[in-house]
């Protein structure tokens, strides 16, 4: 090796991650030495960390396009947008979960610490400019989430879910790593920019390149929970404590979008015609399985797990075109979907109380009599998830379908619309329970502190507002790619 002068990396560019890591350590130490049984200091410090992370990300990374740490870390608008989404979703997740975790005796300092490390992993993933930093981020996220799923150690269902998640997740990570090793073998570099350049001038090594691509696609599809790599999703959603399910269903989906865009969407864009059909296949299978199986689910968490496939299908459809508009549509879809689902899990957490999970669809019966506000929130969320015009879910679907039609896959758009219509059944069924059915027994009772209720109501109303004025968010998503 030549004796090059060592270049000190620009630490300022990676300030959001540095802040999060430092604060995660602070949270750990503070919680260690605090005697508060409710872990109040850890909770508040975590929320301050996440809010501070949002401010730092906006001020240091939005509109920037630079790399640091020898190209392994990319600071750009796309990363900034996804990071802000992840941080806000984590903030909501922690805000909704405090009472639930306390009632079940699993409110531990580790919950906040592992949550922060999972968020840190997601942030590293969406800012990766190198296969190594990408994999590092994915693993940090995954390992933290495996442990979070199992945080309720005495629940056999949670342990089972964690074990399944861990074993299948390790397999998927192996696939991802194997594909990456193929890419490294062909190009001799780990830098995503150089890999993109190498992919553009393909020669006789094309075969090995595609081999690696297939393996990486499997790994990424697993992290998305796209059919046919979806086996873990329903069991993990059902078995994990609801706040952890919220984290997996929202923030980690946004991170998976970042993973796909960095690794395949932008990294291997020259191979578009090769991966386009794989993505189409994943999207079609996800739409079919998701909608049909969700119809018969009676557990809200399982129903949301299966309906996730439907939405993952839509997100993947945005990637099909391989254009900035398509990618922007996917990011818009993922962000709005995640916010809507975060509020949906928030309602489940609101109605849950000691010894009662409120995760059966009939548990929502008569919610309008008990709490008109939150019945209205459920109404907004469900019609948005269905994609009825005037809601943010409609704009998201419309943007994705537009990009797919422009890419020439009209049949795919038709299939997706049929799927959305089928989806209306199981989403609107919840609305019917809230408004037109009488409560059985005690019925749903909103519990939880005033702060929790205020944040949840704001979350629901923001979904409504975003549906009426989607322009700003659309413009932000487009700006991240141009």
């Amino acid at each position: 090796m030549t004796n090059e002068a060592f270049e000190t990396p620009n630490l300022l560019l990676a300030l959001p991650e540095i802040w999060l890591l430092a604060m995660a350590c602070v949270v750990l130490v503070v919680d260690l030495f605090s005697n508060d049984r409710d872990h109040g200091p850890a909770f508040w410090l975590t929320q301050v960390t996440l809010l501070g992370g949002i401010i730092i990300t906006v001020s240091t990374q939005w509109g920037v396009d630079a790399t640091t740490f020898s190209g392994t870390y990319v600071a750009d608008s796309l990363g900034a947008l996804l990071k802000i989404g992840i941080l806000v979703l984590a903030f909501l997740g922690f805000a909704y979960s405090r009472d639930y975790m306390r009632d079940r005796g699993i409110l531990k300092g580790e919950y906040y610490m592992l949550g922060l490390f999972a968020v840190l992993g997601m942030m590293v993933t969406v800012s990766a400019g190198n296969l190594l930093s990408l994999y590092l981020g994915v693993e940090l996220m995954s390992l933290s989430l495996y442990a979070l799923v199992a945080i309720d150690r005495d629940s056999s269902r949670a342990s089972e879910a964690a074990m399944k998640y861990f074993v299948l997740g390790a397999l998927a990570s192996g696939m991802l790593l194997y594909g990456m090793s193929m890419l490294y073998g062909v190009t001799g570099t780990l830098d995503l920019g150089e890999i993109t350049a190498a992919a553009a001038e393909l020669d006789d090594r094309r075969f090995l390149f595609l081999f690696g691509l297939v393996f990486m696609m499997v790994g990424v599809a697993f992290k998305f929970g796209a059919v046919p790599f979806h086996m873990w999703v329903p069991d993990v959603y059902h078995g994990a404590p609801t706040p952890v399910t919220l984290m997996i269903a929202t923030a980690s989906k946004v991170a998976a979008v970042g993973l796909f865009l960095r690794l395949i969407g932008e990294g291997l864009l020259p191979l578009l015609e090769s991966w386009q059909h794989m993505v189409v296949l994943l999207a079609v299978l996800s739409l079919l399985i998701g909608n049909t199986v969700a119809l018969v689910q009676t557990n809200i968490k399982r129903m949301l797990a299966y309906s996730t496939f439907n939405h993952v299908g839509f997100i993947l459809m945005g990637f099909v075109a391989g254009t900035p508009e398509g990618y922007a549509a996917s990011v818009f879809y993922a962000l709005t979907y995640a916010f809507t689902v975060a509020a949906t899990f928030g309602v489940v957490l609101l109605l849950a109380r000691k010894g009662f999970e409120a995760d059966h669809i009939t548990d929502l019966k008569g919610l309008n009599d008990r709490s008109p506000l939150f019945a209205f929130v459920v109404l907004i969320l469900m019609i948005s998830l269905t994609g009825i015009p005037g809601t943010v879910g409609f704009y998201a679907k419309w943007m994705v379908l537009k990009s797919v039609v422009e890419a020439g896959f009209v049949w795919l758009a038709v299939l997706a619309v049929i799927g959305a219509v089928v989806g209306a059944f199981y989403y609107l069924r919840l609305v019917r329970y809230c408004y037109f059915d009488k409560a059985e027994g005690e019925g749903p009772q909103p519990t939880g502190s005033g702060g929790f209720q205020a944040v949840l109501a704001a979350n629901g109303l923001l979904v409504l507002v975003a549906g009426i004025f989607p322009g700003t968010l659309v413009a932000v998503c487009l700006a991240a790619f141009l």
Binding site: F6, T8, C25, L28, V29, L32, F33, D204, R205, L208
Partner: protein, 118 residues
């Protein structure tokens, strides 16, 4: 490109072949006259003293994990110390951060009582 791997393929085939053939030869050609004495378990020629499936404390694992962490720390510290002149203040600060993170982990483990033996 792929033909470069031919020697490795040959090595795998020959390795597998030798292993399988030797085992099979012993299995097929060896004389076998089992008796009760031959089949009974023994330790160093004596009758078995006790059940070998004994339990041992899960805390051994914690100590083992701690050992690996600090063992690796030393493995990083040696090369770092040798090139300290060249990597300058940034290298020094980087190792400081690394040690601080390890220290926090150690603090956590200690405070949680993982090191209490009784």
């Amino acid at each position: 490109m792929l033909e470069n791997y031919l020697p490795i393929l040959l090595f795998i085939i020959v390795g597998l072949g030798v292993g399988v053939v030797l085992l099979a030869a012993g299995f097929i050609l060896g004389p076998r006259k089992p008796s009760e004495e031959k089949l009974s378990p023994y330790e160093c020629g004596f009758e078995a003293f006790e059940d070998s499936r004994m339990r041992f404390d899960v805390r051994y694992y914690l100590v083992a994990i701690l050992f690996i962490i600090f063992d690796l720390e030393i493995a990083f510290l040696f090369p770092w110390a040798i090139v300290l002149d060249e990597i300058g203040l940034f290298g020094f600060a980087s190792m400081g951060v690394f040690l601080a993170i390890l220290l926090i982990g150690f603090l956590y483990e200690w405070k949680k009582g993982a090191l209490e033996w009784e």
